[in-house]
Symmetry: C2
Subunit: 201 residues, 2 copies
């Protein structure tokens, strides 16, 4: 923008929007201007929503999923099948799988995938937590639903090798999900096929 038109608070706000995923320079300005058109209360509500989400959302102490309590809604739901755990990369994948409305087991959120390139080792993930959970004896099957990427596959293999000596059935989502894609964007039918066609590894 021309230096003569530099309005510091707008620039600062646009810069914040630009950091969001999928937001370019022009969109960021559009967003900043749309904030200026909000009422005082609406702008306050927006601002508060950011702080509240950041302050109150933490990780479930059982499965690593996001929650605003101590234990997430899935782990505390007594109607769910406690003999199956579905292992995912992050909380967004839990949302994607819940959308299918077919799976009734529990989840385990790794908080990422093993990636030597990005310096993420198994100890940075919640794999220890997962091993403690399955060692209780209640769990019969672990479904590994990491993304079908190189890192996702590596992580799946790593976990299955740790679980096989424990005599726990380990399965992987079927390749109904497009290879190289992102679980979060898969449609419900594809995700459902992938759940049904899971195979033991």
């Amino acid at each position: 923008m021309s230096p003569s038109l530099y309005i510091e608070p707008i620039e600062r706000l646009a810069e914040q929007f630009r950091r969001l995923p999928g937001v370019g320079k022009k969109s960021a300005y559009r967003m900043a201007f749309s904030v200026l058109e909000l009422s005082e209360e609406d702008a306050k509500a927006f601002s508060d929503a950011i702080l509240d989400a950041k302050r109150s959302v933490r990780l479930c102490s059982v499965c690593g999923n996001m929650t605003d309590g101590e234990i997430c809604s899935v782990c505390s739901d007594t109607d769910r099948d406690r003999s199956v755990i579905c292992v995912v990369e992050d909380s967004r994948d839990v949302i994607a799988l819940e959308r299918v409305r077919e799976y009734n087991g529990l989840y385990h959120v790794l908080g990422g995938v093993i990636s030597p390139m990005q310096g993420v080792s198994p100890s940075d993930l919640t794999i220890d937590m997962l091993l403690r959970r399955v060692s209780g004896g209640e769990v019969k099957e672990v479904i590994i639903a990491t993304n079908p990427t190189v890192e996702g596959e590596t992580t799946a293999m790593y976990i299955s090798k740790l679980l096989s000596p424990l005599g726990i059935k380990t399965s992987r989502l079927a390749y109904g999900i497009p290879v190289g894609g992102d679980l979060e964007y898969a449609d419900e039918v594809t995700l459902n096929r992938a759940l049904e066609g899971r195979r033991e590894i």
Copy 2:
């Protein structure tokens, strides 16, 4: 999202993002999750940027453009040609025209266009302010740069009719700008052609 996964602070934040222009449901959730990944300070900075922009940005008392002072940077710039005023719909159009770096006159921001369908009448715009500005005698030409839409054309005709008895040259941006389009998204060259080819109405 499945009711069992409802995390109120995330839902509330995603809802706020959804109100922004061009943001759908999935993008809104992605944005909400990306906020959770920010550091405490970064989340605070984002939240503050919204409040600051809303609180400190107001309309210039001369031209109606956005400013964080009393008079905007264009109106207070003594190097600008005070005999020409370019009339635009909103502050984003000022930014688009300034990007061309060809125009050195002043601006007048209407704050919208006449639109009986949306209940916007001439009295809702800053047209009175414009008439007071041009009545001083210093202004020789008014370039009307409203968007090339039905409402933009109507507003241009309305203003030119008010200005013609005052003996002020009134011109309209040439149709270099794509009809039905949005001034904000025009490229610099097209905007420059439109400025050069302006014609008296």
